[in-house]
């Protein structure tokens, strides 16, 4: 747990924030790899293709179907014959035009709710998660037990946590008892948003805490000692030493949390309910339309949500690409070093 023999060397060196160890000799292993796995292309294809096939069927095909479906309108009376149509009429971009026109208010409301929830919950989670990780990183008795406890919110199904928080936020519930107020949390209004945010942050902050903790544990102690000897206070050590070093781990966690928060559905659906303006997210909007057999608009919402998630993901990779890559390379190097430690005879075998 406190294994500090494997520092994320590459990250440290590349970013030049602290230079600790001489960089290890560059291993030229790729060649031996190729020889050991010669002719593995066909085998790889055999092993990988089932997964690719399944993902094509359950992800790619539905996505294309959604794109196609979003161009069709509801069945209904055909004005030329007066009968109910057997097939759905092609309406082109009409569904999208509706979203930005007639149905615009509901769409933009859901869009802003989704964005608001994502920004606020991920922000709070990051702060609370980092604080948790810093506390957990200290040595104290019963640390393993606390680490197990921290996993409990993660293990509680989101749907169940929605019910739990609905009970807590009941008008006669414990939240009002503690606050000494009579707030009707589950009714429309800003307080409904607050309820959803509190519940979401409770469930996911420990997750960020764990990821940051893992990042903290590979920072060598010497870095902190050096900073302390140089006279840096606790706050400055955190800001200028700890934070930059856990940044790659933290960024990956934040990216994951953002993409997950953008598709939020269970919690507002159960905690407050469907078709509530204050908490309706894009996922809820699309699901609601689909369950009312309005597949055209539902698909259009689904496509827009998909594009939104894609855009955010790309923006992340673009803005923070170097850090994300650094995180990866750091991992790679430490893994390689781990292998060196585990198997010093490896080169002999290869030679």
């Amino acid at each position: 747990m406190t294994d500090t023999t494997i520092p994320p060397g590459a990250t440290v060196h590349e970013r030049g924030s602290a230079s600790l160890q001489p960089s290890p000799p560059v291993h030229r292993r790729r060649r031996t790899h190729v020889r050991a796995t010669a002719g593995s292309g066909r085998m790889a294809a055999l092993l990988v293709s089932p997964t690719i096939l399944v993902l094509t069927v359950v992800v790619l095909y539905p996505t294309l179907m959604a794109l196609h479906e979003s161009l069709y309108g509801p069945k209904g009376l055909d004005p030329s014959t007066g009968f109910i149509r057997t097939r759905e009429p092609f309406v082109g971009l009409h569904n999208y035009a509706d979203i930005f026109g007639v149905a615009g208010q509901r769409f933009w409301n859901a869009f802003w709710n989704t964005t608001f929830f994502t920004v606020v919950t991920v922000g709070l989670e990051t702060v609370i998660g980092v604080a948790m990780a810093l506390i957990m990183h200290q040595a104290f008795r019963g640390r393993a037990l606390v680490r197990a406890g921290i996993l409990v919110p993660w293990a509680v199904p989101t749907a169940i946590s929605g019910l739990l928080w609905r009970w807590i936020f009941n008008s006669h519930g414990i939240a009002n008892a503690i606050l000494g107020r009579q707030i009707l949390w589950a009714t429309e209004g800003f307080h409904a948003k607050v309820a959803v945010i509190v519940a979401e942050v409770w469930k996911t902050a420990p997750f960020i805490g764990l990821l940051v903790l893992a990042g903290l544990q590979v920072i060598p102690k010497e870095v902190h000692e050096a900073a302390r000897i140089d006279g840096a206070g606790a706050l400055r050590r955190f800001w200028h030493v700890t934070l930059p070093l856990v940044k790659p781990a933290l960024l990956v966690a934040v990216l994951f949390r953002c993409l997950d928060a953008l598709r939020m559905f269970d919690l507002p659906y159960i905690l407050v309910g469907a078709q509530k303006n204050s908490v309706e997210t894009l996922s809820m909007l699309a699901q609601n339309e689909a369950s009312n057999v309005r597949f055209g608009p539902a698909s259009a919402y689904a496509v827009i949500l998909f594009l939104y998630v894609l855009l955010i993901a790309l923006a992340f990779v673009r803005l923070l690409g170097t850090d994300l890559v650094a995180a990866r390379d750091g991992r790679k190097t430490s893994r390689r070093r781990l292998r060196d430690v585990l198997a010093p005879r490896r080169t002999e075998v290869a030679a």
Binding site: L55, I135, F140, A148, V156, L163, L164, A253, V309
Partner: protein
């Protein structure tokens, strides 16, 4: 010096207590509420007095169909986990051990699919399954669940396979095994802990799924536990049966919490391998 040290320790324990309270207090409240009598469900005392198992009896009342829902959950999550693991083991092995073109691209794409908004595939699949009569079937929940279970399993397993030294297979192959035999007889047994951890993480993800199960079913006989609980009926239309919901929630969560407590170290390793590293 010693005084600051004691203060530091005290402060640390205050922090630890805060973290534990933050994580466990809501869960504790669920357990306490589930043990109250229905008549004093609105009590706010920290301990249930008197302790009553009335709500647990109510949950297993045949009219709620909760036993059936638990079974449904077990079937859907179990089959999803098993199939995802089967496919992912082969793929992850290739990702960790073999060199081939576009490896990084393929791995990135597989992992990217797990970040996909589930609703984007639920909407078109709902229409497709309605057309082919799959609504209210297990496969209608299992197939879409693969969209998040499979990438999760592939990533976790890839990390585990990568951590195993290459010499294992080299030795086996020098001893006359083919690559397939080396995989079957050496790698799989040794990777068992990693496969097991991946199974737990995948199972929890599948067990907790709500949106797919909600959309693909409209009969109570086929609903999974989370959906069933969210639809528990109270005595009257306007009364939400919080007490029995809490009891059912505890029943659904406790197996997961026990698993988490037992395999805490491995799960943390798996989770952080899947995301942080």
């Amino acid at each position: 010096m010693t005084r600051t040290a004691t203060w530091r320790t005290r402060l640390l324990y205050v922090g630890v207590a805060a973290v534990v309270a933050y994580c466990l207090a809501p869960f504790y409240w669920m357990v306490v509420s589930s043990l109250r009598r229905t008549s004093d469900i609105f009590d706010t005392s920290l301990l249930p007095t008197p302790v009553s198992f009335e709500n647990y009896r109510a949950v297993f009342d045949p009219t709620q169909g909760f036993t059936r829902a638990l079974l449904n959950s077990l079937i859907v999550a179990g089959i999803t986990t098993a199939s995802a693991l089967l496919l992912a083991t082969f793929t992850a092995y290739a990702m960790a051990r073999l060199e081939f073109r576009f490896k990084r691209l393929i791995l990135t794409l597989i992992i990217a699919t797990s970040m996909f908004p589930v609703v984007s595939i639920v909407v078109p699949l709902l229409k497709l399954f309605t057309d082919i009569g799959w609504i209210n079937t297990y496969q209608a929940m299992i197939v879409p669940s693969m969209s998040f279970a499979l990438p999760l399993a592939v990533w976790n397993l890839t990390t585990f396979f990568r951590q195993m030294p290459d010499e294992l297979e080299h030795a086996a192959m020098i001893d006359g095994c083919t690559r397939g035999q080396a995989f079957r007889k050496v790698i799989i047994p040794l990777a068992a802990p990693g496969i097991f951890t991946t199974a737990i993480i995948t199972f929890i993800a599948a067990w907790n799924e709500f949106l797919i199960a909600l959309s693909m079913t409209n009969k109570s006989a086929i609903q999974t536990a989370p959906v069933a609980i969210s639809k528990f009926a109270g005595a009257t239309q306007f009364e939400t049966p919080f007490a029995s919901q809490m009891a059912a929630g505890v029943l659904v969560t406790v197996p997961l919490v026990v698993m988490v407590l037992l395999f805490q170290r491995r799960i943390v390793a798996g989770l952080t391998a899947g995301a942080a590293k």
